[in-house]
């Protein structure tokens, strides 16, 4: 499981750090490294880009896992370079950005957009498999999630936009409900597809979602 990110347009980054001359750069050694958006190489590229723009990069680090509790310790090691910076430009997913923000009393700017939680199929190809909706229906759908795999997140079967097993929004995308149908049929469990699925509650865990593990 990885938090999938994409670099923001450089113009947007430039706009967000406008007026801030000294920048400290932070990457992440986990998901953003695997997706090649915030690893050592990408941080080095960003450093060069900032310098070409006339900014001063006071230092940089790639935190092993930016979203976990060790981040505070990792940042302490580079405290001097952070102290002299006007802002921190973070090349991790939003989880890491928020973690860093909670320790540092300086502007923290995300360099990436966080897209989804995905798994890697073929090398470098990631796709979304779970929306973390709080009411798992995989037991009814042969292990294929209709919330994420169906464009409309439908619970009671395919819409009229399905065509030869493909989705109306993209002819390259499989129709989730055709896949669910085929797998349930193979397993002799089509009765599950005939079962009515009620409206999904948006109040499973009200936002912001929190839980305390005993």
């Amino acid at each position: 499981m990885k938090s999938i990110t994409k670099q923001k347009p450089l113009e947007e980054i430039e706009q967000q750090i406008k007026g801030m001359e000294r920048v400290f750069l932070i990457g992440c050694g986990t998901c953003a490294t695997m997706t090649k958006t915030g690893g050592v190489d990408e941080v080095a590229e960003m450093r060069q880009y900032l310098q070409d723009m006339g900014k001063m990069v006071t230092g940089w680090t790639v935190i092993p896992t930016a979203c976990d509790g060790m981040t505070e310790d990792a940042l302490r090691e580079t405290e001097g370079a952070i102290q002299v910076a006007d802002c921190l430009l973070v090349m991790s997913c939003a989880l890491g950005v928020q973690r860093v923000s909670s320790y540092i009393g300086k502007p923290v700017i995300p360099a990436l957009d966080t897209l989804f939680i995905g798994v890697e199929d073929d090398s470098g190809f990631f796709h979304e498999v779970c929306d973390q909706c709080g009411r798992c229906v995989l037991g009814y759908t042969a292990g294929i999630c209709p919330i994420t795999a169906c464009h409309k997140g439908l619970l009671n079967g395919p819409c009229g936009g399905t065509n030869n097993g493909k989705c109306e929004v993209d002819k390259e995308k499989d129709c989730a409900w055709t896949l669910i149908y085929q797998r349930l049929k193979e397993q002799g469990r089509l009765d599950l597809m005939k079962q009515y699925q009620p409206i999904r509650s948006s109040q499973v865990v009200p936002r912001p979602r929190m839980i305390k593990v005993p």
Binding site: H151, K152, G153, L154, L155, N156, G157, P158, C159, G160, G161, T162, N163, N164, G165, C167, E168, V169, W177, T178, Y181, K185, L190, M193, K194, Y196, P198, I199, R200, S202
Partner: protein, 295 residues
């Protein structure tokens, strides 16, 4: 209109519906003209709900215009743009204004339309919307609260008899029937033998089926639909028939084809009626009805 749509369905007579698309903007003259044109020649008029995810004047607005002109509207309601509160509120409004027929649809995906940046809601799907209507009829809303004045609707849904694979569509059809659908208007059908096979299945259920007739205006349109519109298959012989029409006569050929299909559906009692979709050529719906010998 002497009888309402539900009475027409129950009469056992051949039922004819058609549809209008509201305008993009506040100039409703064209829509009102179409209403006047269709009002007395069909049993009910559907009003599309931001068809193809293109933002327009609302379906309920078109339905109110039909009511004011003495016609019988069918409110098309998709789940794309409203959450459950908004859907229920609109049903309350519709009922109080005499709009008593609802066609429940999932709705096209947002990215196929003209507001690609918009958020698709899809909190409910078409099956859940049908159930929501039946629940509101029993006097409570989806929050389980009592309604001060319930609703009552003739509720329907759609089905795609040409879908491939067909079985998932049939499963959903059955779920819609169980959820309370009284009638179905189908996606466009052209192959009547295939449609008859579908009817062999559908006849087992206590619902009325209106076959979807989409007017073909040219061979080019037929080919486009084959390549781009899910669930529509125009057979090669119809494409050739359109291609063979003299220059400028393709539309008349399309009217002839639609009329011929409707006449055969009625003669052979294949289903309970037809839903004519002229998509932009509403002017000729009366001609189609005349070509079918129903005028």
């Amino acid at each position: 209109m002497a009888r309402n749509f539900r009475e027409a369905l129950k009469s056992g007579e051949f039922v004819v519906t058609s549809e209008i698309g509201p305008p993009k903007g506040t100039n409703i003259d064209g829509m009102c003209h179409h209403i006047e044109l269709l009002r007395d020649s069909v049993d009910a008029i559907n009003v599309t709900d931001h068809q193809s995810s293109v933002m327009r004047f609302p379906s309920i607005g078109g339905c109110l215009e039909i009511k004011e002109r003495g016609g019988e509207p069918i409110l098309q309601m998709t789940c794309r743009d409203r959450n459950q509160m908004a859907l229920q509120a609109e049903l309350l409004l519709a009922y109080t204004r005499g709009v008593r027929n609802v066609l429940c649809l999932t709705g096209d995906a947002v990215p196929v339309g003209d507001h690609k940046q918009a958020r698709g809601v899809f909190e409910l799907d078409s099956v859940q919307l049908l159930r929501a209507i039946r629940q509101m009829e029993s006097g409570t809303d989806l929050g389980g609260n009592d309604l001060d004045g319930a609703v009552e609707f003739c509720a329907g849904a759609i089905v795609t008899p040409e879908a491939n694979p067909i079985e998932p569509q049939l499963i959903k059809f059955e779920k819609k029937v169980e959820a309370g659908a009284e009638f179905f208007q189908t996606q466009a059908i052209y192959d009547l033998d295939n449609f008859s096979r579908f009817m062999g299945f559908a006849r087992k259920f206590p619902v009325k089926i209106l076959a979807g007739i989409v007017l073909l205006v040219s061979a080019r349109m037929a080919k486009y639909m084959n390549g781009n519109v899910p669930g529509i298959v125009v057979p090669q012989d119809l494409i050739e028939e359109l291609e063979g029409a003299p220059k400028g006569e393709a539309l008349n050929k399309g009217i002839e084809i639609a009329g011929r299909m409707i006449a055969r559906i009625k003669k052979d009692s294949i289903c309970d009626g037809v839903h004519i979709m002229a998509i932009g050529k509403e002017e000729v719906v009366p001609d189609i009805i005349a070509a079918a010998g129903l005028g």
